[in-house]
C-alpha cells in the first residue's frame, strides 16, 4: 500500500480532492454542531448525494463529514450545553462551565487542539494497523469468513448495552431483511409475497435513512420542544498558549491512547471512550478538584479521546468488514454502496483507493484546525435555528437522497415505513445499530455459510476440524456473547452478598 501512496496523493492533492475534503469537513462540523443530527444521521443524509461521484472523492467526502461532525459536536456542547453528538456529552461537563465564565473561545481552543491531536494519531493508527490486520486475514476461505462475520455480529452485544435480547432481535431482523429478494445461489425470489419491487430486496440506504434520520425526526416531534437555545458570548476560538500546556501533555497522550485502544475494539464507540478518558483524567489529573467547573484537563480528555476513536473504529471496518458501532455500520454501508467490498482483500485489490482513504483521513484531521476556527464562528449563530425548521429540512433532504439512488418511488415508501417502524422500535428500547449491522453483514454471512456447507458436504463439524482460525474466531464470538451475561450474574451475586 505504501507504493500506492504517490498515486493516492495525486488523487487528493487536486483542486477537486481538496475541495471535497474542505467542504466535507466544513459541512461535517456544521451538521455535528446541530443538536440531534449527530455523526450517523449526518453521514446517512449526505451519502445518497455522493452516489454519482467517483469512488475516492465520495468516500473521502463522507469520511470528512464523519471526522468533522465528531469535532462539531463539541461546539454546541460548549456553547449551549447540548452535545451535538453523543460523543461530546462528556465535553459539556467542563466546556459549558468554562464558556459560562466568559471563556467560550478558550474552551473551543482547547477542544480544537485536543480533537486535532486525537484525530491525527488515530489516522496514523488506521494507516499502520488496518493493512496488518487485513494481511493476517488474507487467506480466509468461506469457513473462516463465516466465523469472522459471526464474530463481527457479536459487536451487536456491545451496542445493545442494557437491552441485549432486543439488540440481538434487531440484529436478526436486519439479517432477515437482507435475505428478502433473489437468492444469491439459485436466484429464486424469497419473501417477496408477490411484490415485484421486492425482488431486488430492500434498499439498504432507504432503511438506513429511515431508521436513523426519519425516526429521529419523529422522536424529536414527540418530545416537548424547546424552540431555541440561548448562546453564551463567543467571539471566535482562542488557542491555548504554549505555557498553558505545562503539565497537561501527559494527560493528552493518555487520553489519545485510550481513544485509539477503545476505537479498535468493535462496539465500544466514541462516547464510551470520552467518558472513560474523562474518568481517568479526573482520577489522575493534578487539577482534579476543578473538574466539572471548567477545567481544561477535562476538555482535553473527552475531546482527544472521542476524536481518537474515529480512525481506530475504521480499522476493523476497513480491514475485516466488521463495523464497530452505528456510524461505522453506516460507513460500511457507504463502502458497499460505492462498490467497495471492505474486508480481507480490499488492501490488495484496491491499494490506491485505500492509500487515498488513509492519507485523506490524515489530511482531514490536519484541516480540522483551520476549518474548526473558521466554521465555529459561522456555526454558532446556526445553533439558534428553530428545531422545527431543521426537522423539515431533514425530511426533504432524505427524500431527495433516497430518490436518487435508483429513482424508485418504492424506495421512498420503504424509507417512510422504516422511519415509522424505527421510531416505534427505538421507543421500546430496540437499538437500531444492530439492525443496520445485520443488514450489512447478512449477505456475506449467508453466502459464506452456504458455500462452506456445500464444500464440506453439509457437515457442520467439518467447519471447525482442520480450520483452527475459524475455531478460534467462533470461540471468541461465543465468549463475546457470553461475557455480558457472566458479568451480569457476577454483579447480581456481589449485590446480593452486599445486601446480606
Amino acid at each position: 500500500m505504501i507504493q500506492a501512496l504517490p498515486e493516492a496523493m495525486n488523487l487528493i492533492l487536486t483542486l477537486e480532492g481538496l475541495l471535497v475534503l474542505t467542504l466535507g469537513t466544513m459541512l461535517g462540523i456544521i451538521l455535528g454542531a446541530l443538536p440531534g443530527i449527530g455523526s450517523t444521521v449526518a453521514v446517512a443524509m449526505i451519502l445518497p448525494f455522493t452516489l454519482t461521484m467517483p469512488q475516492a472523492p465520495a468516500i473521502l467526502l463522507l469520511l470528512a463529514i464523519y471526522a468533522g461532525s465528531v469535532y462539531g459536536g463539541s461546539i454546541s456542547a460548549i456553547l449551549i450545553n447540548t452535545p451535538g453528538t453523543p460523543q461530546s456529552a462528556a465535553t459539556c461537563l467542563d466546556g459549558f462551565p468554562m464558556a459560562q465564565r466568559g471563556d467560550a473561545g478558550k474552551a473551543l481552543g482547547w477542544s480544537t487542539i485536543a480533537s486535532v491531536t486525537g484525530g491525527l494519531t488515530s489516522a496514523v493508527v488506521l494507516i499502520f494497523a488496518a493493512p496488518q490486520l487485513a494481511a493476517l486475514a488474507l487467506n480466509f476461505g468461506p469457513i473462516e469468513t463465516f466465523a469472522l462475520i459471526l464474530l463481527g455480529l457479536t459487536c451487536i452485544v456491545s451496542v445493545s448495552e442494557g437491552t441485549l435480547v432486543k439488540g440481538l432481535m434487531a440484529g436478526c431482523l436486519g439479517i432477515f431483511l437482507s435475505t428478502v429478494g433473489g437468492d444469491p445461489i439459485t436466484g429464486e425470489a424469497r419473501f417477496t409475497f408477490g411484490q415485484f419491487q421486492l425482488i431486488a430486496g430492500f434498499n439498504l440506504l432507504a432503511v438506513v435513512i429511515g431508521v436513523f434520520a426519519l425516526s429521529e425526526v419523529l422522536t424529536r416531534a414527540a418530545a416537548v420542544r424547546d424552540q431555541s437555545h440561548s448562546l453564551v458570548a463567543f467571539n471566535g476560538i482562542v488557542l491555548p498558549k504554549l505555557h498553558e500546556w505545562k503539565g497537561r501533555i501527559k494527560g493528552l497522550i493518555k487520553s489519545v491512547a485510550i481513544g485509539n485502544g477503545i476505537g479498535v475494539l468493535p462496539g465500544t464507540g466514541a462516547a464510551t471512550a470520552a467518558f472513560i478518558s474523562y474518568a481517568e483524567a479526573r482520577r489522575s489529573s493534578p487539577n482534579r478538584d476543578n473538574f466539572g467547573k471548567g477545567e481544561p484537563d477535562g476538555l482535553i480528555a473527552s475531546e482527544s479521546a472521542n476524536n481518537a476513536v474515529t480512525g481506530g473504529a475504521l480499522v476493523p471496518t476497513m480491514a475485516l468488514g466488521i463495523p464497530g458501532d452505528a456510524i461505522t455500520a453506516v460507513m460500511l454501508a457507504t463502502l458497499t454502496l460505492h462498490g467497495v467490498t471492505p474486508g480481507v482483500r480490499l488492501m490488495t485489490e484496491n491499494p490506491v483507493l485505500m492509500a487515498a482513504i488513509f492519507s485523506g483521513f490524515f489530511v482531514i484531521n490536519i484541516m480540522l484546525l483551520p476549518l474548526g476556527m473558521l466554521v465555529s464562528r459561522m456555526a454558532a449563530p446556526i445553533l439558534r435555528i428553530k428545531e422545527a425548521y431543521m426537522l423539515v429540512m431533514i425530511c426533504l433532504l432524505c427524500t431527495v437522497g433516497v430518490f436518487f439512488v435508483r429513482g424508485n418511488p418504492f424506495d421512498l415508501l420503504v424509507m417512510a415505513l422504516a422511519g415509522i417502524i424505527g421510531f416505534i422500535l427505538r421507543r421500546q428500547g430496540y437499538p437500531m445499530a444492530p439492525l443496520v449491522i445485520g443488514m450489512v453483514l447478512g449477505p456475506t454471512l449467508e453466502i459464506s455459510l452456504r458455500q462452506g456447507l456445500i464444500i464440506t458436504d453439509g457437515s457442520f463439524t467439518a467447519f471447525f476440524i482442520g480450520h483452527p482460525i475459524a475455531s478460534t474466531l467462533v470461540i471468541a464470538a461465543l465468549a463475546m456473547l457470553l461475557l455480558p451475561a457472566i458479568r451480569a450474574v457476577r454483579q447480581r451475586r456481589s449485590a446480593q452478598r452486599e445486601s446480606h
Partner: protein, 151 residues
Amino acid sequence: MSRFISEQRVLSVIFLVLTAGLVVSTFGLQFADLGGAFSPMFFPRIILTILLLLAVLNTVIDFTTQTNNKPIELMPVVLISGYLIVYVLIIMPLGYFLSSLLVGSFILLTLGLRNPLQIVGIPFLVAGGLVILFNHTLKMPLPTSPFVWWL
C-alpha cells in the same frame, strides 16, 4: 387490565406473532427441490428460528418486568407519520416541489408554528433550493410537476 397491557408488551406480542408467521411461511413456499444448503430457505429459516426464540424470551422478559415509557406527544407523531406516507405517495404525481411544499408546511404547522410566512416560506426555500440545485444546475431531475415543467 390497563396496567397489564403496555406498549412494550403489545409490541413484543406483535413481534412474536409476526416472526412465528414468517417461520411458518418458510415451509409453505415452493422452490426447486435442491435441499440442504442449496435451498433458498435454508439460511432464512435458521435466522427466523433464532429470531423466534429471541422473541419468545423477549415476551417473557417484557411480561415479567414493568417499565414505564417516557410520556410523549402522540398527535404530532401520528400526523407527521401520516404526512410522510402521503408525501411519498404524491411525490410522483405532484412532483417534488409541490409535494414538499405541502408536506413541509403541514409538518411546521403540526410542530406548533403559526406564522404563515414561516410555514410556507421555509419549505418553499428548502424545496425550491433543492429543485434549482438538482433540476437546473446538476441536471439530475427530481420528480417534476404535471403543471409546469420547471418545477
